[in-house]
């Protein structure tokens, strides 16, 4: 009986929007320029824009510092446009301009944020096995007067050290737990909603917005479990126990980059929900899609004994 057939295909008039340039890049102080240039495809046209056939290889990619063109990027072996002779600097604003045959010229402008002073310390907590027994305290001196956004991600490196060398035996992401919900936006949590819906957050990375601590020194407490295991090689005889180093990657994000990360995550969440209003991913590319965004990074390390 036809009554049991509950779905049918819908014919959409047209194939979607015409192709546009897609620019993806980050502007990081001291790092070489690298811009990925591709083209978009209409939603109902064939093709996978993430594969190499959509890479635009005949584009002209220029970097402007203020109004001055600083450099033209060349297509490299990774089929991306790059240059090493001119490196971005903190606090400066840059524009990426890309033109390609039969496609509208696209431009994107962003400023590289400053990385404020940060510190990381460690304390052992009393507790039972399998509990989060270590407290990492991350302190940031947030500059006043501007809205800043920070991203943190935590990893743990296990290594053995002898008199001649240091051998890394494993590097893994670390789940941390924090009660600082007021300034945390999750990025990667445990996957379930239950715990993160309570008053603490558990995840491997997060975005901090400075709404509540703008212009002040603020300490974020991250509780971790030293026992959290990762794949490592067999214990090395006679070299003592492996040592553990926690690494906190801290990034100061431009607002465009923050908006991109925020909306990209929301789109991932909502695109499978037919009742949710779709989310448009933030783009700062005029005439195209994608994100060209400033970021300053710092890596904080603290060594503990496992």
């Amino acid at each position: 009986m036809g009554g049991c057939d509950f779905q049918r295909s819908v014919t959409i008039n047209g194939s979607g929007a015409p192709p546009k340039l897609v620019l993806n890049s980050e502007i990081i102080p001291g790092r070489p320029w690298r811009v990925d240039v591709s083209r978009s495809v209409g939603s109902y046209q064939a093709g996978n824009p993430s594969d190499s056939t959509f890479t635009v290889t005949d584009a002209t990619v220029s970097i402007l510092h203020g109004d001055q063109e600083q450099s033209q990027l060349r297509l490299d072996s990774l089929r991306q446009y790059s240059a090493r002779q001119f490196l971005p600097e903190e606090g400066e604003q840059y524009t990426v301009r890309v033109s390609a045959p039969n496609l509208e010229t696209a431009t994107a402008t962003d400023r590289v944020p400053h990385m404020p002073p940060t510190t990381l310390s460690s304390d052992l907590l009393s507790g039972e096995q399998n509990q989060r027994n270590r407290l990492l305290q991350f302190t940031i001196d947030d500059p006043p007067g501007v809205d800043n956004y920070y991203h943190i991600a935590l990893q743990k490196r296990a290594f053995v050290r002898d008199s001649a060398s240091i051998d890394t035996i494993g590097l893994t992401d670390v789940y941390f737990e924090t009660s600082n919900r007021s300034i945390i936006e999750e990025m990667r949590n445990l996957g379930g909603l239950a715990e993160s819906e309570f008053n603490f957050y558990v995840g491997r990375s997060a975005i901090l917005t400075d709404v509540l601590f703008g212009g002040t020194r603020h300490t974020v407490r991250l509780r971790v479990n030293d026992q959290q295991s990762f794949l490592r090689s067999d214990p090395v005889p006679n070299d003592g126990f492996p040592r553990i180093e926690y690494r906190l990657y801290v990034s100061a994000l431009s607002e465009d980059l923050y908006q991109f990360l925020h909306t990209r995550r929301l789109q991932n969440r909502t695109e499978e929900n037919p009742f949710a209003e779709p989310v448009e991913v933030h783009s700062n590319v005029n005439g195209g899609y994608g994100i060209v965004a400033g970021r300053a990074t710092d890596t904080l390390r603290v060594e503990v004994e496992e």
């Binding site: 509950f6 295909s9 929007a17 993806n24 811009v35 507790g127 991600a153 819906e197 991913v281």
Partner: protein, 888 residues
């Protein structure tokens, strides 16, 4: 004969015959030969229709005499230079004469010989008739019953307490009292002083209790009200429905100007508004979430509802606080004469109502309840140890006591809950979600005199959504308790004052204290290791607000042709140190056109200080009721309506055609991606966008209310847009329920005294949805900011990351789903006697199994071309139903 008055008389006699006495003046030329009067027109049973546009009184009297044969004597000087205006249908000769003389300063006196003599009218002596209209069987008051004096073309309707007041001259008048679903009553009376009269109406003469709507409504053209439709519980019960569940709100959805939400839901989207913009009153008490089962069943128990009235525009000043509509649901008071038990058995739920006198004719009660039993059934049928499920229940209780003919006291209680629950057998863990309303009112009605009626109401109501969870584990226990809701305490005082026939004044004050709790979570964790947590997370303290308003409105009859309802509502909303004061003018006007058509127009300025935050298209309990704050102002709207209406009483057909335009400001929506979260420190007001909206269109309603075949045709042509600076690049976009066309045909035919057949067909344009228009390469953000390689590797710059695909969406709501249409068929059988009845309702929902789209899914095509595909998902195919009701 150009430019001379011409008269056309076509009187007939007897009920059921077509008698028309038409008096036509002006430029019309009518052959004199047509002005023939039948020889039997002097007989008392003759009925006449008089229609005029202004004519010399002597000419009108001449024609009247020649047509009716009535012996009439008057002095020429008495009537010279006077004109008459009169519209009257099916009137007795004496009424026709009174009508011709209205406003001329002349009156007719009947002498013992049967002769009529015209004399100067002494200073108008008027008296007021007042009282209640009640059900003859149960003694319950009837809300909205019509009282009409044809000769005077004057009438009124009972107020929300069943009270009426009507002032008439000291001369014989014929009073027609009618109410939908009841036999009309005609009484001839002559008032020599003010008089109190309780009019008893009997349910329509039906054998075996089946419904036959026979009452004549007060003609549409005689009221200033616009944009108002009424549905009786009997009409709603007769409709074919999904699973046989009678639902008043779904019946209202079939009226023009009202768009339903998604299929099956009971939400009302009135003239481009949203469900929270409807002021829903249950016996005068406001309700917040008016649905069960996630919006699919309204909370109104059809067994005890008298009627529901929906006002879509032209709001009188007595209404306020919401932008788009007023839904007034009246519930029975409780039988004051005898005990009744009424109930129903359905596939989904059952209902039971008991009512009767406690002290006969003094005190009565009503108690009614219903519950679903899907959870019980599932538990019984499950082979596993399932202890969980979903149910809803609601209870209505009413107690009223009559101290005297002038004083009555009412106590009303409604409480209802939805609950989803899950429990482990050993009790180690459980979780539940619950939401529901509780509203109670204590009302005192007092008749101060024949022209002044007053009522005072104290009310308490709350709506609450709760989540509870507990887990008892070896390592410890945790308890979660989440609450959000709104709690009101209010006092309302109203007065109805009819100082003279030209004025009907209503005034009152309404003060409500609100307490909003947008969401708070208490979390307790007792760990075996000794670590304990006991904390409450709330983004903000509860918000307390005072909402005070006063109003006055006057229904003024300027001339026989021109009437207005002029009103002003003053309101103040006081919250968090902010004061929102407003003066809201209201105006409705009616001008009587030739041929009994009424031209009606209205303007209303409305303001709404309470908002509903939702990102769903159905009524979910996670929708949050929030208050205006010092940062979020109230929503405002301006609405104008203009239309034509007329009742063709001889065939029982009402016709109404209206255009409207509405502008709304201060609308709020969640910002992109924001949604309800069980626990968050983020304030809701930091997650919203504000914008505006507008809607305009036209509505046609042709409705037949009596005869063996009743029903209506409703058509809506409308446009609705929204504009938010932060959405759709700031460009206006269609509202989700911006349906260009909506057509509803509803018919019910009384086949025999026992059997009636019903059918409804609905068509509506597809709803607006947002679809992707492009796909492009975008970095995978999961590894953002970390390293994948070991020593020496840099953290992931975006351009080095793995890529995935992002979607770019086109215009918000830029795509339309397929049109929706559906045919429902039903057969109702009702048999019994005056003591009780049995009723069987059966039929089929979606008779031709139309695959109407419920939602769209956009996903990757199953072919290898990596393209997107859009699939339309339907959820409600052809569904037969059967339900049974009884009363004894």
């Amino acid at each position: 004969m150009c430019n001379l008055p011409s008269l056309l008389f076509r009187p007939t006699r007897g009920v059921g015959s077509w008698g028309v006495l038409v008096v036509v003046f002006g430029l019309a030329v009518v052959p004199a030969g047509r002005a023939q009067a039948p020889s039997d027109t002097t007989q008392a049973s003759s009925r006449y229709t008089v229609e005029e546009t202004g004519t010399p009184l002597p000419d009108a009297l001449d024609q009247f005499v020649s047509t009716t044969g009535i012996d009439l004597i008057y002095a020429t000087k008495l009537v010279e230079g006077k004109t008459t205006r009169c519209h009257l249908e099916e009137a007795l000769p004496s009424e026709a004469l009174s009508c011709l003389l209205l406003g001329t300063g002349v009156m007719a006196q009947r002498r013992p010989s049967g002769r009529f003599v015209l004399v100067p009218r002494p200073d108008a002596t008027r008296h007021t008739l007042s009282g209640f209209v009640v059900d003859a069987e149960s003694g319950e008051t009837l809300v909205g019953a019509n009282l009409y004096v044809p000769a005077l073309q004057r009438g009124t309707a009972t107020n929300e307490h069943g009270f009426y007041s009507l002032t008439v001259p000291e001369e014989p008048v014929r009073l027609v009292v009618s109410y939908l679903g009841y036999e009309k009553k005609v009484r001839s009376l002559t008032l020599t002083s003010d008089r109190r009269l309780t009019v008893e109406l009997s349910p329509s003469a039906v054998q075996a209790g089946s419904l036959k709507v026979t009452a004549e409504q007060r003609p549409l053209q005689h009221t200033t009200r616009t944009s108002t439709v009424e549905v009786s519980a009997a009409e709603a019960k007769a409709m074919p429905t999904l699973l046989g569940q009678t639902d008043l709100l779904k019946t209202l959805q079939r009226m023009p100007g009202v768009q339903p939400g998604v299929e099956g839901s009971s939400g009302l989207y009135v003239r481009g508004g949203t469900p929270d913009q409807n002021l829903t009153l249950l016996d005068g008490a406001p309700l917040y979430n008016v649905s069960h089962v996630f919006g699919f069943v309204s909370i109104f128990n059809p067994d005890i509802v008298q009627n529901a009235q929906l006002t879509k525009g032209g709001f009188p000043a007595r209404y306020g606080g919401h932008l788009s509509s007023v839904v007034e649901v009246s519930v029975e008071d409780g039988n004051r004469k005898e005990f009744d038990v009424e109930g129903s058995l359905g596939v989904v739920a059952s209902r039971l109502t008991v009512q009767g006198p406690i002290v006969e004719d003094k005190t009565s009660f009503l108690l009614s309840g219903r519950r679903t039993y899907l959870d019980w059934l599932m538990r019984g049928l499950s082979k596993e140890d399932l202890d969980g499920g979903y149910y809803f229940y609601d209870v209505n209780a009413k107690l009223n006591h009559r101290f005297s003919s002038s004083d009555r006291l009412f106590f009303n209680l409604y409480t209802g809950d939805d609950r989803y629950y899950n429990r482990e057998d050993d009790g180690s863990s459980s979780s539940s979600y619950g939401w529901g309303n509780l509203t109670s009112t204590l009302r005192w009605n007092h008749v101060f005199g024949s022209r002044l009626f007053g009522s005072a109401t104290v009310r308490y109501s709350q709506y609450q959504f709760t989540v509870k969870a507990n887990d008892d584990m070896e390592r410890g226990t945790y308890v979660l308790d989440y609450r959000s809701g709104i709690r009101d305490l209010g006092l309302k005082v109203n007065f109805d004052y009819d100082p003279n026939p030209q004025h009907a004044v209503r005034t009152g004050v309404d003060v409500t204290h609100h307490r909003f709790q947008p969401g708070a979570t208490q979390y307790r964790n007792n760990s075996a290791s000794g670590a304990q947590l006991d904390t409450t997370i709330a983004p903000s303290d509860p918000v307390r607000a005072l909402d005070a308003s006063a109003y006055v409105e006057d229904n003024v009859e300027w001339t026989k042709h021109f009437r207005t309802n002029i009103g002003l509502r003053a309101s103040g909303f006081f919250v968090q140190g902010a004061s929102y004061l407003s003066l809201q003018p209201r105006l409705s006007a009616r001008y009587l056109l030739p041929r009994n058509w009424a031209l009606k127009g209205a303007y209303a300025w409305m303001r709404q200080p309470i908002h509903l935050l939702t990102n769903s298209s159905v009524g979910l309990p996670t929708d949050l009721w929030v208050s205006s704050t010092d940062e979020v102002p109230p929503e405002r709207s301006h609405q104008v309506t203009l239309g034509l209406s007329r009742s063709f009483q001889d065939v029982g057909v009402d016709v109404s055609l209206e255009g409207y335009g509405k502008l709304m400001h201060g609308l709020i929506e969640y910002e992109q991606g924001a949604a309800f979260r069980l626990s968050t420190d983020a304030e809701w007001k930091d997650q919203i966008e504000t914008g505006r909206g507008w809607s305009y269109g036209a509505e046609l309603l042709v409705r037949r209310t009596h005869g063996r075949t009743t029903g209506w045709l409703g058509y809506t042509l409308s446009w609705t847009r929204r504009q938010f600076d932060a959405l759709n690049d700031g460009a206006p976009f269609p509202f989700r329920y911006d349906r260009r066309h909506k057509l509803t045909l509803t018919a019910r035919h009384q086949l025999t005294d026992v059997t009636s057949l019903t059918a409804t067909w609905s068509y509506r344009s597809g709803i607006a949805v947002t679809l992707p228009q492009a796909r492009y390469r975008s970095p995978l953000i999961n590894g953002f900011g970390t390293r994948t390689a070991l020593e020496g590797a840099e953290d992931h710059p975006i351009s080095d990351a793995f890529f995935t695909i992002a979607r770019s969406y086109g215009e918000r709501n830029g795509h339309r789903m397929r049109p929706y249409h559906r045919l429902d068929l039903g057969a109702n059988f009702k048999w019994g006697n005056a003591e009780g009845f049995h009723a069987l309702k059966t039929g089929v929902y979606n008779a031709y199994n139309r695959k109407n789209p419920f939602f769209l899914v956009t996903d990757q095509s199953s072919n290898r071309e990596d393209t997107l595909q859009v699939r339309s998902i339907s959820v409600l195919p052809v569904v037969p139903y059967v339900s049974y009701r009884f009363k004894f």
